[in-house]
Symmetry: C2
Subunit: 214 residues, 2 copies
Amino acid sequence: MSASQQNADVINLGPALSLRGTRMHFDRNAEIFGEDEAADYVYCVVSGAVRTMRFTSDGRRQILGFHLPGEVFGVELGAKYTLTAEALSPTDLVIVRRSLLEKASAEDPRAARCWLEYASRTLDEARDHALILGRKSAGERVAAFLLGISKRLLHGTDFDLPMSRADIADYLGLTIETVSRSFTEMERQSAIALPSSRHVVMRNRSTLALAAAA
Amino acid sequence: MSASQQNADVINLGPALSLRGTRMHFDRNAEIFGEDEAADYVYCVVSGAVRTMRFTSDGRRQILGFHLPGEVFGVELGAKYTLTAEALSPTDLVIVRRSLLEKASAEDPRAARCWLEYASRTLDEARDHALILGRKSAGERVAAFLLGISKRLLHGTDFDLPMSRADIADYLGLTIETVSRSFTEMERQSAIALPSSRHVVMRNRSTLALAAAA
DNA sequence: CGGGCGATTGATTGCCTTCAAACGTGGTGG
DNA sequence: CCACCACGTTTGAAGGCAATCAATCGCCCG
């Protein structure tokens, strides 16, 4: 499948930072780590997908990010995780002790740089997310979401969404129904096609980009 | 005024990371740095206050954070700033070359740790902000904002807001009118008093905490 | 005293949520 | 093998919360 079989149990944080780890499996909806747990590991998705999220005291959920195959997550800078991670579907991960990452960074400035760049990207994404949540309409949010996701897992013209409408809604600060209606509307505009609810065909990227108004 | 006069031109990123810098002044609404500029400096507010923000292509503004006296901002991990910073009022800052910070971190692991902890806090705040923007009502947002701000600049029972209703609105993803109505409502509930539009008296913190529903 | 800007308040609109029902699909057990 | 059930999704109708439009107020400064 993958070009490099030897990368099976290796996390790649950049050109100068590869770490050998352990393979683990998580069932759908299984918790990978929880808020306030010691942040002793970093993770890389091999197959499946992951959501990270935070909750209000009365149980409302905000999804902060999705993590797709090849992507790293759980790299916290503080001592504890400040969010919760769950598997969206049956998921294989590589986990690496955080201490190994810190050791590598201490020894090699280039490795430390990779780590910083990773953190930088995370922060940048959080800021874009705030812009979407604070200042965009429902249609714009969904369009932006589709563009962002498609950039990460598009092969050819179409792809499968690894998450439900409920997950998308909790990521975009909307309801399931509004997400569904927005999908239908994008389809009506021929920006996408939806042969099934999880399968998205990109029909007109520029229409989508226009609708995202980023 | 301040307890320690000798700290005048020093940025304090933590117990093990103090750096001597240069004092600078910015007028109200002056740009301190802009998106895509080289992130060559880090900043600390001496007096006044600062907003950091990002824009949509059609000009809508999302304020990402406010920075009050004693607080550090502009510590980017990547090569360029990914946001814009402006002075809320006539503001004095201490600026330090980023290279000095990097040098200190390379030489002293404790200094590097301070830097990490700073970045960690920034990311944590961004996540809380996403939760507020995505999943809270107008009243909850304003209550959470007042609690957060008061924790940072409360002396006794009251404080002065350094920012306008428009700034608060763009921070909370609301309109000026909605922010104003929420303030009035909090006042009606005796959670706060507003002798003038910028001056807030904390009357009942627990009412506010209840309204914030965090 | 007049002008300008920010804040408040009121009236109305509209977008998204809520409530409700139907649809489709995948899985299970009869 | 098919019927049935559970769950996720879609669609429809109604309601509500915040946005928009608009007018007034208050304050600072000229």
